[in-house]
Structures are given as structure tokens and as C-alpha cells.
Subunit: 212 residues, 2 copies
């Protein structure tokens, strides 16, 4: 697990410590996905990961600490962005990646569980925000490139365009309950690209656009 | 409370049953806002509402049942849409209403608590979806009117435009942690209006748009 290199407490990539971490985070993710944050018991995690209980308690301390480390690992492990050569194409790839994640039978419930936990806990919430900051920073350069190609006006806020792609998919999953399907993903990407082209993300106030 | 008329179990508007319901739902909302779904204890609700415990248990049964009724009441009580004469204006009013709700010191935590509960419970989730369906249906006619005025193409999906206005605000509150401020609301409205104008909500697949 090369992505573990440099993570706190890691001795060396692929070493015993990294293997323990990988097994524990896998078990934690499984439990979160199956029974939500309330089902995340450190003793259960240790049993499932086949790791000593003391190790888990000493290294992660609490379910909250474990979720924070899981989110760090998810950010490290998550896929690099795809470059298609156009803003529409890039945003579509981004939307489909988010859609596949949220509709995955393991990842979907896992995200729901972590977001629910974050709504009630400050530390989990901070870890979740760091996760999204990493993902947004990974994809933002596609908007910078689009501006350079003249596909969106100067001053377009790259992070805001990337957030706009994910937002309708999360809203469907967490609020309205509409399906998080490919059509929704494609539409989210098309809408964000169209709004970016029209300059909707170029001005923080949304003023100064000469439209009726 | 005229908006209670016709709700199940209501004798008559302003009657004893309606007063009890109003007091209980107020107390339930306060508790949810203060300590989340985990803090929603029916005995506490009865005490705060100054209503007999038996009444609360008999009428609402469980915290989940109480949240479902609270969401029904919130949908009934929520404000009618504003008509400004333009799609941009209408969507901006909608966005600012959502933004004020989510950033309100009582309503914001209440929504977070209910959404967190819905992520773990099917019945709460169904009640939440009904709440959003009501709100989306309330605002969708502004898109129908905009299509009639030629501000968006024929075939534009009104519900999808309304969802697009709320989505970035919920994404900020629940996922990325970015501020849910007026600038975000105005931008969400501008982006939805621009994307609607460009036809991004007119075709379920997002295909068939002759853009680069």
C-alpha cells in the first residue's frame, strides 16, 4: 500500500504497521457500510481485522478517530482525475466517478454513514471536509485548463465548478431521495459546464451579468 | 394553527388536539436542534411540551414517528413561493429561502439532525423525501411559467431545476463544509438559471446538445 507512505504511525510502505492499518480500515469500512456509525465498535473492528484489540484502541482510540483515519485513507487511495480535453468531458468523468461511488453497494452506505456521523460530531465533520477538499483540489485543474482553452470566462472559480458537479448527486442521495443514476450524473455535469460557460461561477456575488 | 386543518388526528383548527400537536412538535424540533436525533426522547418531549407522557407515546409511538409528523408539519407550514416575473428572480428567492433556513440557528441543526437520522432509518428517509417532494412541487410552477415566457426551452424538467438550486447549499452544509451564505445562494440560483436557459435540464440523458 504505497499510498500509506508518510501516514502517521506508518513504519514503511507494505510493512507490518501498514498491513495492520489496511486490515483495520477495511474492517471499519465494512462495519460502517453494514450497520452505520452506531455499529462501529472497536472490539468488533479488531476481531474482523484479526488484529489485537489493544493495538486498535491504542492507535485509533475511538470510533471517531477511526473514521477520521479512514477518510484520510480514502482521500489518499481515491482515483486521479481523467483528462478528456474538454470541460464537458472532464466534468462528465468526474460526475460518473461520484455517481459510481455513491451507488456502489459498499461505498454508498459507507458515505451515508460517515456523513450522518459528521452531522453529529465536529471531529468527523472536519475529517469529512478534508476529504472533499482533497477531491476538489484533485479535479479543480480541469477547470483551470478549460479557462485557458477559452471554454469558461476568466475568473471562474474552479472549486465551485467541481462542487456543482457533485452537489446534485449528494442532494439526491441525502435529501430528495431521487435516484443517483447515470442520467443524473450526466445532467449534473452538463448543467455545471453550461453554467460555467455562461459565467455563473466567475463572480462571487452572481451580480454583473447582463441578463433579463 | 390553520395549517393543521385536515392533518390526521386533528379535531379542528386551534382545538385542543391541534394545540397539543403544536406544542409537541415544537418541543421535538427544539430537542432535535439542540442534541440531534439521539437526544429525541419522548418523555423529554412530553415534559417540555407540558403534555401527558401517555398522550405522546399513544399518538406518536416512537422518535421516528414523531420526526415523520414533524416533517409533515414543516411541509405544511413552509412558505409559499414568491413570484418575481423572471426565472432568475424566482430561483434567487428560492435559493435565499433555503439558505436562510439552513443557516438559521434552530432550523439548520434541525435539518442536519433529521438528514442524519434519515441516513440510518427507512421511515425517516421516506418522510424526508415527502418533505422535499412537497417543497419541489411548491416551486416547480415558476419553471413552467419561465418556459411559457421563453426563458428556458420546451421540455425543461421543472423539478430538476428546483433541485439544482438547493443542491449546492445542501452539499456545502453536509459534505464539503463550505459556508452556506447569501453569495452561495445567489450563485446556486444563477447557475441553475444559466443551465436551464442552455437546455441542460431539457433532456434526461444530457445528450443531443451540439456543444464542443
Amino acid at each position: 500500500m504505497a499510498a500509506d507512505a508518510g501516514a502517521p504511525g506508518t513504519v514503511r510502505p507494505g510493512g507490518r504497521t501498514a498491513q495492520v492499518r489496511a486490515a483495520v480500515l477495511r474492517a471499519a469500512g465494512d462495519l460502517l457500510s453494514e450497520s452505520g456509525f452506531a455499529g462501529l465498535d472497536l472490539a468488533d473492528v479488531a476481531r474482523r481485522a484479526d488484529v489485537g484489540r489493544t493495538t486498535v484502541y491504542r492507535r485509533w482510540g475511538t470510533p471517531t478517530g477511526l473514521v477520521a483515519d479512514l477518510l484520510r485513507d480514502m482521500a489518499e487511495q481515491s482515483l486521479p482525475r481523467t483528462e478528456t480535453g474538454s470541460l464537458r468531458g472532464d466534468l462528465r468523468e468526474n460526475a460518473l466517478l461520484v455517481q459510481r461511488t455513491l451507488s456502489d453497494p459498499r461505498q454508498g452506505p459507507l458515505f451515508r454513514a460517515v456523513i450522518a456521523a459528521a452531522a453529529c460530531d465536529r471531529r468527523t465533520s472536519a475529517a469529512l471536509h478534508r476529504f472533499y477538499a482533497t477531491r476538489i483540489a484533485e479535479w479543480a485543474p480541469c477547470v483551470v485548463a478549460a479557462v485557458a482553452r477559452g471554454e469558461a470566462p476568466e475568473g471562474t472559480d474552479p472549486a465551485e465548478v467541481i462542487r456543482a458537479v457533485s452537489a446534485p448527486l449528494y442532494y439526491r442521495m441525502l435529501a430528495s431521495g431521487d435516484p443517483v443514476d447515470e442520467a443524473a450524473a450526466v445532467r449534473a455535469a452538463e448543467a455545471a459546464a453550461a453554467a460555467a460557460r455562461a459565467g455563473a461561477y466567475a463572480d462571487p456575488t452572481g451580480e454583473g451579468q447582463d441578463r433579463p
